[in-house]
Symmetry: C2
Subunit: 575 residues, 2 copies
């Protein structure tokens, strides 16, 4: 066992770098790099200041008049602290953290705080460790909040269950900042001892606890906050957000692929309230990553809506750093990490250059090449081998009367449409199945789905919230079984199949959630699969895979389907 570093050892390790920083700040030695003639956002005086920014060993040494070994003239442009995504699940990008980093760093993002909730539901602590290793040595810093709800509900057959003891060691990792979104707000306000213990554990480590409590209000909200939940990213209206802010929560204004809360929460982005706000995306899918931008997109939108640029940029940088106690991030000042974004003007807000610890990581439209750290072989093998499921036969899927789940276009809530006896594509009545795939239990939940539109074949995915079993929908049992087995053979992914043939597919061999391929390739395969599903009948208003992914989340009313069958969320029982 390696003993923790002593104060003396730490001081020895840091002293020489600190002494050089001081000499550079005094002008006794040239800086590593100087950003000459910078007009930069001063997050302390809330205005744009002017000067040379001197950097030594990745830290800002001083601002004033400096010379450097390298000098970069940034006159005529603006410099901001790097942007921070306060809450995301990296797995939602379907690509490796390195590919994700490559995409967002070009948008000025230099730090994200991820909750590895999805992979933890598949691989437990190994999943968190995999993500920690896969996020070393990237051009962005990836910090972690430890998943609080694995499994998400007692109904879920996930790959793993984590109590506070299972994750306790991880709090000592320097990139772990706390406990991720406490979705089980019912458990919190009911005083569930195991749930409260998780909160107390994070507090014992002097770390944060993020919240997730859409619409929670009044005494229950007081209880949730008093328990120790410091933020919320589920506010979709101003009233909800203001109540939470007034009771002391930080508000993460979420604008991602699935949720768009910026416009509703614009009334927070003024002098009175903005100090308690940050930006977050929660999830970013491949197409949105490629075309939509990231935190820069939210800033641009906010400014276009009339928000003071100083406010927008501070919410995008300084405030998340402060909330998460990242003491030396989110500002351009002596001693701070030199994460810098150079942009053209407030209207276009084009990101021209990005510097991570003073090193150029993006310029002239190109992300600088980088070599991500390799994940240790054992952990990599483990992540690529997460399917424990015997081949499924059509016979296993045959059934008589089953409940019918009714899709609501554009929503993740569903309707209870009674019972049916068999699929009937002519009436848009499909069979839906969730096959347990972590422990080879042979559990397969069955039901019917109406409103999806598929007219032939089957669609399946191993991204199925939150336990990530295999969820499939189809017009006949043979195609459903084929699609499920194909996903198992791929070690995860998305499959569109018909008549024993793969029509389109996206392999996601990392925990059944992520690809090892480049983002562009993943996006192409995903879009091709989407197109195939739509050609086979899936209604145009429906995302064929994302919709399916949410059918297995047994906390959203009215009906959902798990490995145990169709569950009535309103009555909290299987039917």
């Amino acid at each position: 066992m390696k003993l923790p570093e002593t104060t003396t050892e730490r001081i020895e390790r840091k002293l020489d770098r600190k002494l050089r920083l001081i000499r550079v700040a005094r002008g006794e030695e040239p800086a590593d790099v100087v950003f000459k003639n910078a007009t930069y956002l001063n997050v302390f005086s809330n205005d744009f200041c002017h000067g040379d920014i001197a950097v030594s060993n990745g830290l800002v040494a001083g601002i004033g008049s400096y010379r450097g070994i390298e000098e970069i003239d940034v006159s005529g442009r603006f410099v901001s602290p790097g942007f921070i995504d306060a809450h995301i699940h990296l797995e939602s990008s379907m690509v490796s953290p390195a590919e994700f980093a490559r995409a967002v760093v070009s948008h000025g993002t230099t730090t994200v705080i991820t909750d590895p909730h999805e992979i933890a539901n598949v691989m437990g602590v190994d999943g968190i460790r995999y993500m920690l290793e896969a996020t070393e040595s990237l051009p962005i810093d990836v910090h972690f909040m430890l998943p609080s709800c694995v499994p998400a509900t007692p109904l879920d057959e996930s790959g793993c269950a984590l109590d506070y003891k299972a994750i306790d060691d991880l709090y000592d990792h320097p990139r772990v900042l706390g406990l991720a979104e406490m979705m089980n707000y019912v458990g919190v306000v009911n005083g569930d001892r195991e749930v409260i213990s998780k909160i107390l554990a994070s507090q014992a480590h002097h770390k944060k606890i993020d919240g997730h409590a859409p619409g929670l209000s009044g005494p229950d909200l007081n209880a949730y906050i008093a328990a120790g939940v410091y933020s919320d990213h589920e506010c979709s209206n101003y009233r909800d957000a203001l109540e939470k802010l007034q009771l002391g929560q930080f508000i993460m204004i979420r604008e991602g692929t699935a949720a768009h809360n910026l416009r509703a929460l614009l009334p927070l982005l003024n002098q009175q309230y903005y100090a308690r706000c940050m930006f977050a995306t929660d999830d970013k899918h491949p197409l949105d990553l490629l075309q939509g931008g990231h935190i820069d997109y939210i800033i641009r939108e906010a400014i276009a809506c009339g928000v003071d640029p100083v406010i927008a940029i501070k919410v995008a940088s300084h405030h998340a750093a402060r909330y998460f106690l990242m003491n030396n991030k989110g500002a351009i000042a002596p001693g701070y990490v030199a994460d810098l974004v150079v942009f053209d003007d407030f209207r276009h807000f084009n990101i021209q250059q990005v510097y991570k610890r003073g090193r150029c990581v993006f310029a002239e439209g190109e992300v600088q090449p980088f070599t991500p750290a390799a994940v240790s072989p054992a952990l990599s093998r483990r992540a690529h081998d997460t399917f424990r499921i015997a081949p499924v036969t059509a016979q296993q899927l045959s059934a008589g009367d089953l409940p019918v789940i009714g899709l609501v276009p554009g929503e993740i809530i569903t309707q209870n449409l009674g019972q049916a006896a068999a699929p009937d594509p002519s009436r848009d009545l499909l069979k839906i199945a969730v096959a347990e795939r972590h422990h080879n239990t042979g559990h397969i939940g069955l039901g019917y789905l109406k409103g999806y539109g598929l007219r032939q074949g089957a669609v399946a995915t191993s991204i199925a919230h939150d336990s990530h079993n295999i969820i499939a929908v189809g017009t006949n049992d043979e195609d459903i079984a084929f699609a499920i087995n194909r996903i198992s053979a791929l070690q995860g992914g998305i499959v569109v199949a018909e008549g024993g043939k793969v029509i389109a597919e996206l392999p996601l061999p990392v925990a059944g959630l992520m690809s090892d391929a480049p983002l562009e390739e993943v996006n192409d395969l995903l879009e091709q699969a989407k197109a195939a599903a739509h050609r086979m009948g899936v209604s145009c208003g429906i995302d064929p895979f994302m919709t399916l992914s949410f059918m297995s989340l047994p906390v959203i009313p009215s009906l959902k389907i798990t490995t145990q069958g169709v569950f009535d969320v309103d009555r909290w029982q299987y039917i």
Copy 2:
């Protein structure tokens, strides 16, 4: 050796209280106490909100409509979070921490951050431990910053020298928040390895480092801040403060007994800058404590000068809590410590009631009785036995030609007035002596003082910055020797003597700095001693003892006197 508490032990210890907090917040159980109909400052939404404030076990459980075992109607008045003094040396009050607490809690102060610099210069780590023990169980919370400069300079013969290793264990104390004012800014910017190690040690413990750098600017200021100094309380003009704020330092606006910086720094107390400001006093002498108020006085003055009350009160409460990472202080919201101040209106700003962790500690003009924790006997004996000095004879004080220090009325700087051969009270030329009293070295520094005004006898004090040897001034060697010996016999204090008789005296037997007596008694003795000194000729514009205390501080130009003699600060040599 007691092993540190494990996460599991900590959770067990906290769980039941947390569960009750949640039940109270939900309204399932009555609160311990409810403040009914409160109009309270919401530091998050920056306005005054209305509701019942429910408290359980010293924490705010919820705000809304609540019932409690005890209910206190606060309608028609205002409620604010308790005030915080961001920087003080408790020893400056000359009374015990309990007496200090009794005085300031009536002014709405519920937390102070003290730097036990004075007692540490006498007793080293034992002095810090003494203050930690003497500040348990008070009606205010006393947090600590560890002295960074003991001795204050290499010239000082102090009782102790503390390097970073000597104080490292103390960072684990739950009330220690970091490293106190780094006065040795010359050492910092010159990259003194021992000095930088102290900063790195505090950073290694994830704690703050306070600054003290009057007038430091430009590259040197950049270096000082880059080294890791996060705040400054020495700003006496707006320009200096703005430069420090812009470079990332928090500004402690100081308004105490000696320094009055509020008016000069009023331009910081607006929307643009106030988020980075706090209030501090640095020192509070007995009379000022009794008559002047504390942080409430600064708020009242600021409001009278036109500062928005929301801004003034946040600077007085929330901001210090945030800076020092006191996560659950400085706000009225679920989970926060229920430190509450009830006041009448913004103009008079009369403090009517004060609650510490929900318990009344001040009401109707009376501080509620409390029993301070007893300091452990060994430590108490040690604190009352700090004089190691043999009796001084007049012969030891005789000398020929010596330098003359010229007082500048109202300043702590001095002038170099050449040499003299003997005291001559008719020309206001007195002898001044500093007698080493920690290690019985027999060192006595001698010189002459002009401008003090004494016409007969001698004045001496064991409060002599920063090493707290015995400093004495007099018209003749016999009276000086008598006064020094009397202070030694008292184990510290202030003495006015003539012709072998004590004319007035204030015993300060705790480390030669503090009394065990009530504040009123200490103040009476001190004022009587002042009056006696003035009757004996000390000029009316001069505080006889405070002036003397600063004569031994060898960092203020031009001439100062140490145990080694008169020191020329401008030329940095003894003369």
